[in-house]
C-alpha cells in the first residue's frame, strides 16, 4: 500500500511538472504540453514514466525559452544597434571629461527606439542604459563612478525617460493623424 502510494505520488509529480511547463508555453505550442501529458498514460513503469516526464519537461523548457526569446530578439539588427549605442555611450561616459556626449547619445537613441521600435519597448532602457553598470562590473573600470556607486545607474533612468518620451511622441502623432483623417472625412 505504501509502495502504491509512493508510485502514485511519483506519477503525480511527473504530471504536475509537465502541466506546469505546458501551461507556461506560448499559445502556439501549448498543445505539446498536453501531448506529453497524454503520452504518460501509455507508459508502463513508474520509473520510466518519471524519466519521460523529467526529460519531456526539460525539452519543453527549451521550447519555452526559445519562444520567450523569439518574441523579443526577433529583430537582431535593432538589438545589435542598441547594444552598440550602449557600448559607445559607456565609452564616452567613462573616457570623456563631461557626461554630456553620453547623455545626448542615450537620450536621442532611446527617443528614436521608443518612437520607431515599440516591440518589447522595455528592452531599450536595459540594453542602452544598462550597458554602463554592466561594462563596469565586467571590466572593473569604474572611472569617475568609483565613489558614487549609485550614479552609474543614471543611464537606465535616462534611457527609461527617453524611451517613454519617444513612445508618447509616437502615440501623439498617431492620434493626431487619426483625428485629422476623421476631420477630413466629414
Amino acid at each position: 500500500m505504501i509502495r502504491a502510494a509512493g508510485n502514485c505520488a511519483v506519477h503525480q509529480m511527473g504530471r504536475c511538472l509537465l502541466r506546469g511547463i505546458g501551461g507556461a508555453l506560448s499559445a502556439e505550442h501549448r498543445e505539446w504540453g498536453d501531448a506529453l501529458l497524454a503520452e504518460l498514460t501509455a507508459i508502463d513503469g513508474v520509473g520510466t514514466r518519471l524519466r519521460f516526464a523529467l526529460s519531456g519537461a526539460w525539452g519543453m523548457s527549451v521550447v519555452l525559452v526559445k519562444d520567450a526569446l523569439a518574441g523579443h530578439v526577433a529583430d537582431p539588427g535593432t538589438m545589435l544597434l542598441a547594444l552598440s549605442i550602449g557600448v559607445v555611450a559607456t565609452g564616452l561616459d567613462l573616457r570623456a571629461s563631461s557626461r554630456t556626449p553620453g547623455v545626448a547619445l542615450i537620450s536621442l537613441a532611446c527617443i528614436a527606439f521608443g518612437a520607431l521600435s515599440t516591440r518589447a519597448v522595455w528592452r531599450w532602457p536595459l540594453v542602452v542604459g544598462g550597458m554602463l553598470p554592466m561594462i563596469m562590473a565586467v571590466t572593473g573600470h569604474t572611472g569617475a563612478y568609483e565613489f558614487d556607486r549609485a550614479d552609474r545607474w543614471y543611464g537606465v533612468l535616462l534611457a527609461t525617460a527617453s524611451t517613454a518620451l519617444g513612445l508618447a511622441g509616437r502615440v501623439a502623432v498617431l492620434a493626431t493623424r487619426r483625428a485629422m483623417r476623421g476631420m477630413c472625412s466629414r
Binding site: 505550442h29 498543445e31 505539446w32 498536453d34 501531448a35 506529453l36 501529458l37 497524454a38 503520452e39 498514460t41 501509455a42 507508459i43 520510466t48 519521460f52 523529467l54 526529460s55 519531456g56 519537461a57 526539460w58 525539452g59 519543453m60 527549451v62 521550447v63
Partner: protein, 103 residues
C-alpha cells in the same frame, strides 16, 4: 535558406524512422524506435511541425477512458526533405545503427 541547414544525428534518425513508418505514429513509439529521449525528441517534433515538415493530430478513437494521444506523420514536403537529408547523411557515412540507443 532551408529551415534546417544542419541536422543532428538524432534528428536524422527521427526523420529516417518517420519516413520508414509512413503511417501516423505516437510520440512514445517514436522514442522507443529511435532511442531518442523525450527531452530531445519533442523539441525536434516542435521544430519539424513549425517548419511544415511534420503534421500532428489528436487520436479520434480512445479506449479505456484514457486521454487522446498525439499522432505524428511527415507531410509531403517533410518526406521530400527527409529523403534529401538522409541521402546527404548517408553520403557522409551516417548509418542508423551507429546512433541507435535502446531506452
Amino acid at each position: 535558406m532551408p529551415p534546417f541547414p544542419r541536422l543532428s544525428g538524432p534528428a536524422i534518425l527521427v526523420l529516417e524512422t518517420l519516413l520508414r513508418e509512413a503511417a501516423w505514429t505516437y510520440g512514445y513509439d517514436l522514442m522507443r524506435a529511435t532511442g531518442v529521449q523525450a527531452g530531445t525528441l519533442y523539441p525536434l517534433l516542435v521544430r519539424l511541425t513549425d517548419a511544415g515538415w511534420l503534421t500532428a493530430k489528436w487520436e479520434e478513437r480512445i479506449e479505456g477512458g484514457r486521454p487522446p494521444r498525439h499522432l505524428y506523420r511527415l507531410t509531403a514536403e517533410g518526406r521530400a526533405a527527409a529523403r534529401e537529408y538522409l541521402g546527404r547523411a548517408r553520403a557522409r557515412g551516417w548509418s542508423p545503427t551507429a546512433d541507435e540507443r535502446p531506452i
